[in-house]
């Protein structure tokens, strides 16, 4: 598809590539070096002790588990929302459409406080569950809810355009072969959505792992139970221990990066099925 840089007739390679590389270097790579420099200030042993500490590991477990669940739930509801927004006309659609970006605009702390007050055992929603012994706020459920809130836009806004572009003829083809509406969705539409879902879900997951502000108010922060990794980084920082803080951060970063990479690879594979070869 692409032409080689040296002989492309389309102008602007040098300028645009120059700007891209400069910008990425200055805004992303330059600061990112610091994380390595700071971490290199501590010994290898210290690094391992820090990142393999049982409390930290418990934190990773909580963070990854809740982020994963939140991403999965958002993939489900995000797809549903995108579907409803693309396929149906109904009163109030504009409102739903407009609210999708709200979680980005509201400061995370405000979101956290509001959610905590809604879901605490005396809160509007929490009290519905309290009689059954279900504690939403101050537990992993609460963390998950906060994470769902902050990552909604990712899934909806990545799936929406793809859904818009799916050719209805695929659905008709399956329809004439006797497929039910649900089968059509599962076997025909879903595979088309999967790259977008992977991307949206992956972004949501990566963002959720790093989320701090909205979570701490609803998490309860009980060690080994509802302590998330970003909180543990704050603990290190509270002790002015930059090296250990960045150690944990590096592990998190690598993990998120690995997820993104895996998603990109999966997407490339999917792409290959659809577009073929190296094109």
């Amino acid at each position: 598809m692409g032409r080689t840089k040296s002989n492309s007739i389309i102008p602007g390679f040098n300028l645009s590539m120059g700007i891209t590389i400069f910008y990425i270097s200055f805004i992303i790579l330059l600061p990112l070096i610091s994380i390595v420099i700071v971490t290199s200030g501590i010994t290898w042993q210290n690094f391992l002790d820090t990142v393999l500490d049982s409390r930290i590991i418990a934190g990773y477990e909580v963070s990854f588990f809740c982020s994963f669940i939140a991403a999965v739930i958002n993939c489900f509801f995000g797809t549903m929302l995108a579907w409803v927004l693309v396929r149906y006309e109904f009163p109030g659609k504009g409102i739903i459409d407009g609210l999708i970006e709200l979680p980005f605009a509201i400061p995370t702390a405000v979101a956290g406080i509001s959610l905590a007050s809604l879901y605490s055992p005396t809160g509007f929603i929490g009290q519905l569950f309290a009689p059954f012994g279900i504690k939403i706020a101050y537990s992993q459920i609460g963390i998950t809810i906060a994470l769902i809130f902050v990552t909604i836009p990712f899934v909806v806004r990545t799936v929406e355009p793809v859904l818009k572009n799916i050719d209805p003829v695929f659905e008709e083809a399956a329809y004439t072969l006797g497929a039910s509406r649900f089968t059509i969705f599962r076997r025909i539409i879903l595979p088309e959505l999967i790259p977008a879902l992977l991307l949206g879900g992956g972004l949501a997951f990566a963002r959720a792992i790093g989320e701090y502000g909205s979570v701490i108010f609803i998490a309860g922060n009980m060690p080994f139970k509802s302590e998330i990794v970003p909180l543990l980084i704050m603990v290190k920082l509270q002790q002015f221990n930059y090296g250990e803080a960045t150690s944990i951060a590096i592990v998190m970063l690598l993990f998120s990066f690995f997820i993104m990479f895996a998603i990109n690879s999966l997407q490339a594979y999917q792409q290959k099925i659809v577009q073929g070869g190296t094109k």
Partner: protein, 353 residues
């Protein structure tokens, strides 16, 4: 009759996409809807399949009225214009899809898919994804997918439109023989008359939502019954002042003449020719090589006429003087058609006799 449509009407807004369409096709027949773009071919096909609901009229398949039967229950296979192969399924899964939906046991599915890949000549490619197939292969997979659940009727919307010229010709033959072998009642849509002629037993000429004429390709070609058909079929020359040609006279109401290439005979100057009296002198304008014959445009009384010339006769050259004989023509007005012979020729022949 196996498929029968009675007084089908379908409007899109004020536009009559199907205008009182009625026809009947026998079991096992292979028919073509032939007509210009936008004439309503796809619409009729989609109505039969149940993808579109007619505003009025009845659809019968095998004697049963199917208007109220769900599309999937009508026993119809549909091959879409761009195949609509499921991109994320490989050849096997595509072909198996309809059977899986019907909960056919896995081993039976496997057997049937094997049978079908054999039939379509794609054995060994079961694991390929659509993108890894050529246009012709995709077309055949779409075909196999449509017939896998053993439908009683097969509908194909422009099955060859998206394929290269060369492969298209091969596929036509393949499709024809395969459908005949399976003995499945089929209709396909095309706006290419060569294609319709070559593949179909019967063609239905569609124009402006109506069926203009139907019959065997040769019959329709040889005996057009409406002005539209006369003009639409064949590589015709359309002439208004047709009475300038020897042996033809203006006839009341008929404003246009349609002349087929084979209605015209050309004679080189050095050839002796039979109907010397009726032959008029013309000049060759262009000679174009068209694969296996030459297309010749001759100028006769300042009117350009299109005819053909075989490759094995001595070649014609532009500006060459030739003898031109018009044997017959169709005269048409807005609603009627009349076939007229060259009167001079009739006279000429009778003289000899």
């Amino acid at each position: 009759m196996y498929i029968e449509l009675k007084n089908i009407n379908k409007n899109f807004g004020a536009y009559k996409a199907s205008n009182n369409v009625s026809f009947a096709l026998p079991a096992g027949s292979l028919s073509a809807f032939l007509g210009p773009s936008g004439s309503g071919k796809t619409t009729i096909l989609r109505i039969i399949a149940g993808l579109e609901t007619p505003d009025s009229g009845d659809i019968f398949i095998d004697g049963q009225r199917v208007n109220d039967i769900a599309p999937a229950k009508r026993g119809i296979g549909f091959v879409f214009q761009n195949y609509a192969l499921f991109r994320y399924m490989n050849v096997f899964e595509n072909i198996a899809f309809g059977m899986k939906i019907k909960k056919v046991p896995a081993n039976k599915i496997k057997k049937r898919v094997e049978e079908l890949t054999e039939l379509i000549g794609l054995k060994g490619l079961e694991n390929r994804y659509p993108v890894q197939l050529s246009g012709g292969q995709k077309q055949r997979v779409a075909f196999a997918r449509a017939i896998a659940p053993e439908p009683k009727v097969l509908l194909l919307d422009e099955p060859f439109a998206a394929i290269d010229a060369k492969i298209r010709k091969e596929l036509r033959q393949w499709l024809k023989t395969t459908i005949k072998k399976l003995n499945i009642t089929s209709i396909f849509v095309t706006h290419d008359q060569d294609e319709a002629s070559e593949v179909a037993d019967e063609i239905l000429i569609i124009n402006k939502g109506r069926v203009e004429q139907s019959g065997s390709p040769l019959a329709v070609y040889k005996k057009p019954t409406t002005p539209f058909v006369a003009q639409f079929i064949g590589e015709n020359s359309l002439i208004n002042n047709y009475d300038i040609f020897k042996g033809f006279y203006r006839q009341e109401g008929f404003s246009t003449a349609v002349i087929r290439p084979e209605f015209i005979s050309i004679f080189k100057e050095n050839e002796e020719y039979k109907n010397a009296y009726t032959t008029e002198p013309g000049i060759v304008k262009t000679v174009t090589f068209r694969g296996s014959y030459l297309e010749v445009i001759v100028d006769l009384h300042d009117t350009e006429l299109k005819t053909v010339w075989p490759t094995d006769r001595e070649i014609l050259h532009p500006n060459e003087k030739v003898g031109v004989l018009i044997k017959k023509m169709y005269l048409v007005d807005s609603a009627n058609i009349r076939e007229v012979e060259n009167e001079a020729l009739i006279a000429d022949n009778s003289v000899i006799i």
